[in-house]
């Protein structure tokens, strides 16, 4: 297993073996460790001292189900702190076959390059041909040039303009460039280093083999059984995808509505997972209610949304996108939500940050809530780089500052995903205290069978959930599998799986310790970057104003938050 270092200033590269004592570091744990060690915390995120780490999870490349995820880490231009964002798709599998645990990009350049990595070398070609194109067209041109068996990591026009909303995408198993490392403006950091696309060609590379096949297969058998037995992974996600959440969050008063002003939307049924499934089945054609983004994924939570003629509009339509581009904008028409989602995908922008930015703009009176055409036009402005588009592309916090709007649903500069935190206070604690900025995948608490509107006990629930998130994000396992993994002590089977794959004796406690250390490391980076407990708070209005749908304000005490935040002694 190797690290590949690519210097974008000088367009050269070198390889290093992964130290044996770091084989249990993958995904988020690895990106955060390397960023902490190698990037000055006070550096400019778009400057030469920042680095990008593209890292496989520990199990990525093993072909264990739902475990092909890759992480991108860097200092975030959106939050100013440490950031990790991960995605499914096929890049991890290809990277793994080439023997790379991580690819580290260094340096800075003004032009844009395509980086081509194969089993023999790394080479660079100018990216002029694909600059300014939408993602699908750029991906088509790259596949025509490099073949349809490669993986492609790609930024869009947003990344070229180094916008805070810029994401990085990669291909799903069917060649669609719609698997996003969405959060934290990672696409802007790629743009700052002149990386337009990374092609990974594993032609001629051998398939990865577990070091201890018997142990690996034993772990695999039990892991697969856990996925099959859990209702989430066996029934909910394959049938309804993550959009199954709409009814639940609406009932909890936690479906963000009209710029997070309340948590219940009068048209929620028309944008629900059930409605989406019904629409896809009715239209047929290329549409599909279930779809795997990674080879061999048993969960298949993705989908393909068709138009009225059955032609693909985009993939996937997820809960977060429905919440941020739908109810949060007062839009209750699923086709309109999907069209906004498609545009975000084409421009390679984070649907969460963009939906929140549009919501703040609507709150500030730039457009009316529910005005789909205005929302679409603002995205087209973003594509053109017009002043309003640049402002939207700067993210929700920037929109609020420019238009004098104090109701901005963001923490550490990063917009909240689709959970109104007054309705689910455990998630409010996560948003406030995680080093990652407001991010549900950093510590999801909605599944807890607790009173989500009570402030009591939420800090402990969030803290545990934050560690669960690090475990799955570091192993390369999909977040959807976290339920089965942490039910009935199944984590011991994961330890077996990991042990068999890397050929080291890894215990359940080793995995948990890895997660604890990762969280400590991320907080340490943020402290060095100047973060204090002042950044570990929700927006002021959420403490002062009632979410009428949940009939509550955010009232978890500051001193409780500080027990697990950036200033805590972990």
């Amino acid at each position: 297993m190797k690290y590949l270092r690519i210097n974008m200033s000088h367009l050269h590269y070198k390889e290093d073996d992964v130290p044996t004592d770091r084989l249990l570091l993958g995904g988020r744990a690895l990106t955060s460790q390397l960023i902490y060690e190698e990037v000055p915390a006070t550096c400019h995120p778009l400057g030469p001292l920042n680095k990008i780490v593209l890292a496989n999870g520990v199990l990525t490349g093993s072909l264990a189900s739902s475990a092909e995820r890759t992480s991108i880490g860097a200092k975030s231009p959106l939050t100013g702190g440490i950031k990790e964002s991960n995605a499914g798709g096929i890049a991890g599998l290809k990277m793994g076959r080439l023997g790379y645990r991580a690819i580290i990009f260094e340096g800075l350049r003004d032009d844009f390059q395509i980086v081509i990595i194969d089993k023999d070398s790394v080479r660079f070609e100018p990216a002029d041909e694909i600059l300014g194109l939408r993602a699908s067209e750029a991906a088509q041109k790259l596949m025509a040039r490099f073949g349809d068996q490669v993986s492609i990591n790609l930024i869009g026009v947003s990344g070229e303009m180094k916008m805070n909303t810029a994401a990085v995408t990669n291909l799903d198993k069917d060649g669609s460039p719609t698997r996003f490392y969405g959060r934290g403006g990672m696409g802007a950091v790629w743009g700052s280093k002149g990386i337009k696309a990374v092609i990974i060609d594993d032609t001629g590379a051998e398939r990865n083999k577990p070091r201890n096949r018997e142990r690996f297969m034993d772990g695999m058998k039990n892991y697969a059984l856990a996925l099959r037995e859990h209702p989430g992974t066996s029934k909910v996600y394959p049938e309804l995808g993550t959009a199954a959440m709409v009814r639940t969050t609406n009932h909890l008063g936690a479906l963000p509505t009209r710029n997070f002003s309340t948590g219940s939307f009068e048209h929620y049924e028309s944008i629900s997972g059930e409605k989406m499934r019904e629409t896809i089945l009715e239209r047929g054609g290329e549409g599909s209610t279930t779809h795997a983004c990674m080879p061999g994924c048993a969960i298949r939570c993705s989908n393909i949304y068709p138009d009225e003629e059955g032609k693909t509009v985009t993939t996937p339509i997820e809960y977060e996108n429905i919440g941020l581009l739908g109810s949060n904008l007062g839009i209750g028409d699923l086709d309109q939500v999907v069209e906004l989602n498609r545009l975000c995908n084409e421009l390679c922008i984070d649907t969460i940050e963009t939906g929140a930015a549009l919501g703040v703009a609507m709150q500030a009176g730039i457009a009316e809530f529910g005005d789909f055409e205005a929302a679409k036009n603002m995205l087209l402005d973003l594509e053109k780089g017009n002043p309003l588009g640049r402002i939207i592309g700067g993210g929700a916090t920037l929109v609020g500052k420019i238009y004098g709007e104090r109701r901005v649903p963001a923490v550490k500069g990063q917009a909240m995903p689709a959970y109104e935190p007054r309705g689910i206070k455990g998630l409010g604690v996560t948003f406030a205290t995680t080093p990652q900025g407001a991010d549900h995948t950093a510590g999801q608490t909605i599944r807890a069978q607790v009173d989500h509107r009570s402030p009591e006990g939420q800090v402990e629930i969030s803290y545990n959930a934050q560690h669960v998130a690090i475990v799955v994000d570091s192993l390369g396992v999909c977040f959807m599998a976290s339920g089965p993994i942490f039910t009935k002590d199944n984590i011991k089977h994961i330890a077996n799986l990991v042990s068999g794959y890397i050929g080291q004796d890894v215990s359940e406690e080793d995995i948990r310790a890895m997660a604890r250390k990762c969280l400590q490391t991320e907080h340490a980076f943020n402290r060095d970057a100047g973060f204090t407990k002042a950044q570990d708070r929700l927006p002021e209005y959420m403490y002062l104003e009632t979410n009428e749908a949940a009939d509550t304000r955010f009232d978890v005490k500051d001193e409780e938050l500080d027990k697990i935040g950036v200033t805590a002694a972990h």
Binding site: Y237, R247, Y319, Q449, M480
Partner: protein, 78 residues
């Protein structure tokens, strides 16, 4: 042995594969919500997010006559 009096529990399910319930189910008095769920084939804290009278239920809550139980899909989001 003296049997407990029965109470009526109203039930609504948003879980497609766990929706074949009558609108009202009778259970013995002093039944907890967790026991009730297990009696109707719901594994506690695994197969459903359970609400009692519009609030998330705690497993030890004792059901009262005419209470409403709501079963929501148990997922962690996207």
């Amino acid at each position: 042995m003296v049997s407990q009096p029965l109470i009526n529990i109203r039930i609504q399910s948003h879980i497609p594969w766990k929706s074949d319930y009558p609108p009202v189910i009778q259970v013995e008095d002093n039944t907890t919500i967790r026991t009730f769920c297990e009696q109707i084939g719901i594994e506690w804290d695994v197969e459903a997010l359970v609400f009692l009278n519009n609030q998330i239920a705690h497993e030890s809550q004792i059901l009262q006559d005419n209470d409403q139980v709501l079963l929501m899909i148990p997922v962690v989001g996207g």
